[in-house]
Amino acid sequence: MKISRAEVAGVALLARLRLSAEEETRLTAELDAILGYMDKLNQLDTAAVEPFSQAVEAVNAFRPDRVANRPDPETLLANAPDRDATFFKVPKIIE
């Protein structure tokens, strides 16, 4: 086994996903098969290979930090799952 059911449950917490028992069973089998396939990469000795970093040579791109395309608050808030006047209403995080 490449991955256990307990590991799948742990990864689901890291990924902020709530899985049903049925999903956990299915994902354990599926991820195990996929990770098994990825073992193929171990056929290659890559100790001396520098990891890939970018496809096209590029350097840091700087530009002045100026507001363009200023968002209109009403347009932004229109997508809010919950709002109160001109605020996004979110769950309380401090007890």
Binding site: I3, E7, V8, V11, A12, L13, L14, A15, R16, L17, R18, L19, E23, L27, E30, L31, A33, I34, L35, Y37, M38, K40, L41, N42, L44, T46, V49, E50, P51, F52, S53, Q54, A55, V56, A58, N60, A61, R63, N69, P71, D72, T75, L76, A78, N79, A80, P81, D82, F88, V90, P91, I93
Partner: protein
């Protein structure tokens, strides 16, 4: 013949001669959609009102600009539903975005609108562009116009099907592992994934940021060149967009391939692939030779590792990019007793099975203890894959391969086996890993009447050469002139 069947360049020439108006052209496209989309289901959202308004403005502008009018003026185009369109619902094929109305516009689509194009609507896709069949859309699967029992390819399946069914003149898609080229092959249209960085990704919903790229799906090679020229170029709002000047791509369509060096990688002609696909691509290679090109067998020795590398890197990047869907500022939210549970339940309800699978895989390969074994290992093998291409392009100018190992498969055929589905991208993902431009165009039909796609891969920023070679082949064969025979049905 319906006006909707025209290519962009044909329609633009006739619009200038006042044979019809932009409003009439747009109306004919919506008529075609009304007749065929109950079967094909290419569109998630239609924007008929704003499209007709844009068409009216195009007719006005044509009076003022005359011959100087941009090539796309008045042209009805479709957009994959992962392009943010101001005031037009954008779902990315997912429930988690709910009825998201973007507050801003993607640069690529802003350029199209600036050139006077008419945005017909938003096309279906695999949820978050993760899939090869359009079956993982949270809404419904799109059907292949050539055979409604078959998939249109994915993830830009809606755009490819809409072009093939004449429900638009051309479309835009995105390609992270083949998502423009594979559906183009499945639906018998031309699809171009430009070089990484060639087109701005500002306002494109991110999937795997080291590979995502925007490109056209079109009825012929000239249309693909016209669209690429309209959307390419540096954008200060996307720091990964390339500063290189945009060439005149139409000027590259000389019809000549004499002296062009074409490499046929032996790893792309392997057992297990469809014999009819192999025969069609080999016949195409002979066609290039008859035009004076030199075809030579080459080797890309690390090809067999590409799928494993891709599904580590793409899922790792996706797990990070999709962390933003937390149900706080947009999209849907399911409230629970504490914040972590709110996140978990929101995301569980909002994402479909394939997206969850990839987030899980990506989170796992990036997690402490596994990062070196998977993610870093994959980036090292990715460097070897890039090196293979660098060596090959010392010897040849274009690499020709099949776009996919088979023609379009049946709906449901691969949904139960994710690994089998992942392997349908086997011939397209290397170009994304290496950042190279790739184009798919029709090169024949199999005995079931389904289109076969051929892929041309070029050097970094050398879209002009693959467009030239593709145009030569298209002129010599005219496979693109065949149309799917959809019965009109209301």
């Amino acid at each position: 013949m319906s006006l909707a069947e025209l290519t962009l360049h044909e329609a633009a020439a006739r619009l200038r001669k006042r044979e019809f108006s932009a409003v009439e052209l747009t109306e004919s496209v919506y008529r075609r959609i009304a007749e065929t989309d109950a079967q094909v289901r290419a569109y998630l959202t239609l924007a008929q009102e704003s499209a007709l308004e844009a068409a009216r403005r195009a007719d006005e502008r044509l009076k003022e600009d005359g011959a100087a009018a941009p090539a796309l003026l008045g042209m009805p185009l479709a957009l994959k539903d992962n392009f943010l369109t101001r005031n037009i619902r954008t779902t990315c094929g997912s429930k988690i975005l709910g009825d998201f109305i973007p507050p801003y516009e993607a640069t690529a689509t802003a350029k199209l609108r600036g050139a006077g194009a008419v945005i017909v609507g938003k096309t279906n896709l695999d949820e978050f562009a993760m899939g090869s069949s359009c079956e993982s859309s949270a809404f419904f699967p799109t059907r292949n116009p050539w055979d409604l029992e078959r998939i249109p390819g994915g993830s830009s399946g809606g755009s490819a099907a809409a072009v093939a069914a004449d429900q638009c003149l051309a479309a835009l898609g995105t390609d992270t592992g083949g998502s423009i080229r594979q559906p183009a092959a499945c639906c018998g249209v031309v699809g171009l994934k430009p070089t990484y960085g060639r087109v701005s990704r500002y306002g494109i919903i991110a999937f795997a940021s080291s590979m995502d790229q925007v490109g056209p799906l079109a009825k012929d090679v000239r249309d693909a060149a016209i669209l690429l020229e309209a959307i390419a170029g540096h954008d200060p709002a996307d720091s990964t967009s390339a500063p290189q000047a945009v060439p005149d791509y139409q000027a590259a369509l000389s019809g000549a391939v004499r002296g062009l060096r074409i490499g046929a990688p032996k790893e792309y002609f392997v057992s297990g692939m469809d014999a009819e696909v192999e025969q069609a691509v080999r016949a195409a290679l002979r066609q290039f030779e008859s035009g004076g090109a030199v075809v030579e067998e080459i080797s890309l020795p690390h090809t067999e590792y590409a799928v494993a590398v891709y599904y580590i890197i793409a899922t790792a990047e996706a797990s990070s990019n999709l962390a933003r869907y937390d149900g706080m500022r947009f999209g849907c939210r399911a409230d629970a007793e504490d914040l972590t549970e709110t996140y978990r339940i929101t995301r569980a309800a909002g994402f479909g099975a394939e997206v969850k699978r990839r987030i899980m895989l990506g989170t796992y390969v990036l997690s402490a203890g596994y990062y070196d074994a998977y993610y870093l290992k994959a980036q090292r093998v990715r460097a070897l894959i890039k090196r293979d291409f660098d060596a090959a392009f010392q010897r040849c100018d274009v690499i020709v391969t099949p776009t996919a190992p088979t023609t379009a498969f049946k709906l449901g055929e691969k949904t139960q086996d994710p690994l089998k589905m992942y392997l349908s991208d086997i011939f397209t993902i290397s170009a994304n890993l290496a950042g190279l431009p790739g184009l798919s165009l029709p090169c024949g039909f199999d005995s079931a009447g389904m289109p076969i796609g051929m892929q041309l891969v070029g050097r970094t920023f050398d879209e002009a050469t693959i467009l030239r070679a593709a145009h030569f082949y298209e002129q010599a064969t005219e496979w693109n002139k065949r149309k799917a025979k959809l019965k009109s049905k209301k």
